[in-house]
């Protein structure tokens, strides 16, 4: 069983992935793309092509945790929430020192004139696993909407949407090959009036970038409380099907 480590930042709301292998697996088997945020050392003066770490929003991490717990993936994956800590253990640090000395010797011997900076796993910090409960059980609207968007087809990619003034952009597949088809607005409650002005402006924008607007809405707390059966187990309570509904909004092409 392989393990994907997601490092949780100080706020507990954003995760970083530092391993290329993990990034590849997230992309291929979970449809989780994330945002590369580091400087690409080979081309350090541009912002189009970036490098690890991969940034993941908390709703994506919460969904990953639940998916891998439930065995919805291919069952071989485990997702861990971790925080890195500097090793206090003296002998381990000595071990690191020995390793680095060996490396140095090898460089000297072969007369390699290039000194590499490691990406990860220096041995100086180690991962401390965190209890993922708080994220796994996160019931915030964004988690609900994210889960509902991934429902049915996990290869769909839900990416941050601030480039288009939306909450998410939705790609039917890997953004490397396909265009996004939808712009997802922040969810409203069923009984909450829509901000028509905002709807109109995003719908116009969506038309020009050839996307449709998806408007998620969640049941207001009242109806949810009545529909919540106390006997429902944890998995069912995450079944967002009852909570999130979507309307699609498109310009008609006239008027």
């Amino acid at each position: 069983m392989s393990c994907i480590d997601i490092e949780i930042g100080p706020s507990g709301h954003v995760g970083h992935v530092h391993s290329l292998e993990a990034a590849r697996r997230l992309r291929t088997s979970h449809g989780v793309v994330g945002v590369l945020s580091g400087t690409l050392p080979a081309a350090a003066q541009q912002n189009c092509f970036l490098y690890l770490p991969l940034v993941l929003p908390h709703e994506e991490i919460a969904w990953l945790l639940r998916r891998c717990d439930d065995g919805d993936g291919d069952g071989k994956e485990k997702v861990r929430l971790v925080r890195r800590q500097v090793t206090e253990n003296g002998s381990q640090l000595q071990e690191v020192s020995r390793k680095q000395a060996v490396e140095q010797a090898r460089r000297d011997e072969k007369n390699i004139r290039f000194h590499m900076t490691y990406d990860n796993n220096s041995g100086i910090t180690h991962s401390k696993e965190l209890d993922p409960q708080y994220l796994r059980e996160c019931q915030c609207t964004r988690c609900e909407v994210y889960t509902a968007l991934k429902e049915g087809d996990a290869s769909r990619v839900v990416a941050a949407g601030s480039r288009f003034g939306a909450q998410y952009t939705l790609y039917p597949g890997d953004p490397l090959r396909v265009h996004a088809t939808m712009l997802v607005l922040p969810a409203v409650k069923n009984n909450q009036p829509w901000d028509v002005r905002a709807l109109l402006s995003i719908a116009r924008l969506a038309t020009t970038v050839r996307k449709t607007v998806l408007l998620p809405s969640t049941s207001d707390t009242k109806t949810r409380a009545t529909s919540d059966d106390t006997s429902i187990d944890r998995r069912q309570s995450h079944d967002t099907q009852n909570h999130v509904r979507f309307y699609r909004l498109e310009w008609t092409g006239f008027g």
Binding site: L20, T39, H115, G173
Partner: protein, 472 residues
């Protein structure tokens, strides 16, 4: 998804749009070229982004293309080796207590705009500078550890090379990590970036130091009192204007007259247009800041008020990190997903505007870059005087502002622009401005927010006077 595709076919807007240009962000990233470049390197140009498919058709051909694209991307990432030639290696050591790094033997271009040197010639880097340089491979990150030798029980100091992953775990707060993203983004574009509240250098301000003389205090108080009165006068006038017998005195014959009347009736915020406006506004604020401060604090219990995070200078060769002049831009970092932050309210926005201190680019008094030295104050004295006092006569100068530059000569020859165009430009560009940098889980967008002032612009049509004469 199938219904969606069907709908897409029927969509009447589809044909109309097919010729439109596709948004830049929406083209695929073609990693193949950057992959080649990371293998070969040196004089690269950034590859253009390629085309991608509109819909998934489930064919093998598409699958193959996707696989290729993915492989290229990950290959490029894998082959992007980070590090330096040993000959030019610069080691930097992380200091956990100070949360910064020290470079004992500094060398390299980065010293021009980063780091603070001490008397022994060592350079201290802020944590974000340290991480940025380590990520580029410009410096090699190290940390020293004190450990006990298990055999001899002696204390021993070892230096260990840190990984980038280690460095990322050293962030103290989400804010710091957000700020780093923005810092690195701007640095990659070549800008010079400094924390606004850093006190590593002699700060330069547009505003003169407060004078301690009694006379100026009295002047200040007089100004504030006067400003209160002007406000009241305005409202008194409103009452006057509103009453019917007002029409006995004023005859409205043109629509312009009505607008002028309305303008007096409706109070508006006048943005500072001139240097004098800015200076007097500043002195008023200094006086009233104590009282208003408390009020604003109460309203912001749940949200951290946003403040100016970075000063940004355009790329320039004569930047002096010890005495940088006024920055070209000021950046406010805002994480839209942070529950403790919100888009600034009007009052918060006002507060940010009032704390701006940069090259107010719209001021007509100050025509070129060099004269900024005459209008800014470093360490409490006029910057020109300051610069000559430290015998640094080479003045900050952007290459594009070079008098020999043909571009700037061209500008002088251009025809005078019409009043109408100028007014439009003023309305569109506004006056004081800052950059709001919105972070959405790793994606950065910059928004320029500026004060605009419709109240001071008379946008109605005024018939030219000579025509009137002609009619008579």
């Amino acid at each position: 998804m199938s219904t969606l595709d069907k709908d897409y076919e029927n969509d009447p807007t589809k044909d109309a749009l097919d010729d439109d240009e596709i948004d830049d962000d929406e083209l695929t990233q073609d990693w193949s070229k950057i992959a080649a470049l990371s293998k070969k390197n040196p004089n690269y140009t950034i590859p253009k982004r390629g085309e991608k498919d509109a819909v998934i058709d489930g064919t093998n051909a598409q699958e193959l293309l996707l696989n290729n694209a993915r492989n290229e991307m990950f290959e490029a990432l894998e082959n992007s080796v980070r590090g330096t030639m040993i000959k030019s290696q610069v080691k930097a050591y992380y200091l956990p207590l100070q949360h910064e790094a020290i470079v004992p033997h500094p060398k390299g271009n980065f010293l021009q705009s980063m780091g603070k040197a001490d008397k022994q010639g060592r350079v201290f880097l802020k944590f974000h500078e340290f991480l940025y340089l380590a990520e580029r491979g410009t410096i090699t990150p190290y940390q020293t550890f004190c450990i006990q030798d298990p055999d001899s029980l002696e204390e021993q100091t070892i230096e260990l090379q840190l990984s980038i992953q280690d460095l990322y775990s050293f962030f103290k707060s989400q804010d710091e990590s957000d700020n780093f993203l923005v810092f690195a983004y701007l640095k990659r574009l070549g800008f010079i970036v400094n924390l606004t509240d850093s006190n590593d250098c002699d700060t330069t301000s547009f505003f003169p130091p407060p004078k301690k003389s009694i006379l100026s205090n009295i002047l200040n108080i007089y100004n504030t009192i006067r400003s209160i009165f002007t406000f009241h006068k305005l409202s008194l006038f409103n009452a006057f204007f509103y009453s019917k017998w007002n029409f006995l005195f004023n005859r409205y014959t043109t629509s312009g007259q009505i607008y002028v009347g309305l303008k007096k009736l409706i109070p508006f915020f006048k943005a500072p247009h001139t240097r004098y406006d800015l200076l007097s506004l500043n002195s008023q604020h200094k006086l009233s800041s104590d009282t208003s401060h408390k009020k604003q604090k109460l309203s912001n219990i749940n949200f951290k008020p946003l403040k100016i995070t970075f000063d940004v200078w355009k790329p320039q060769s004569n930047y002096k990190k010890k005495v940088p002049g006024l920055p070209d831009y000021q950046v406010v970092v805002f994480n839209k997903n942070d529950p403790h932050q919100r888009f600034p309210t009007y009052l918060e926005m006002r507060k940010i505007f009032d704390s701006l201190d940069y090259k107010f680019e719209y001021l007509s008094e100050i025509t070129d870059d060099l004269s900024w030295n005459k209008y800014s104050y470093t360490n409490g004295m006029l910057r020109t005087a300051y610069l000559s006092s430290i015998k640094a006569k080479a003045q900050q100068q952007r290459s594009s502002q070079n008098p020999n530059n043909p571009k700037s000569k061209k500008k002088k020859n251009s025809r005078p622009t019409s009043q109408f165009v100028l007014q439009n430009r003023r309305l569109k560009n506004g006056y004081r401005s800052f950059l709001l940098c919105v972070i959405d889980s790793g994606i950065i967008s910059f928004v320029k927010i500026s004060e605009t002032d419709f109240g001071s612009e008379d946008v109605w049509y005024v018939p030219p006077k000579n025509i009137k004469k002609y009619n008579k």
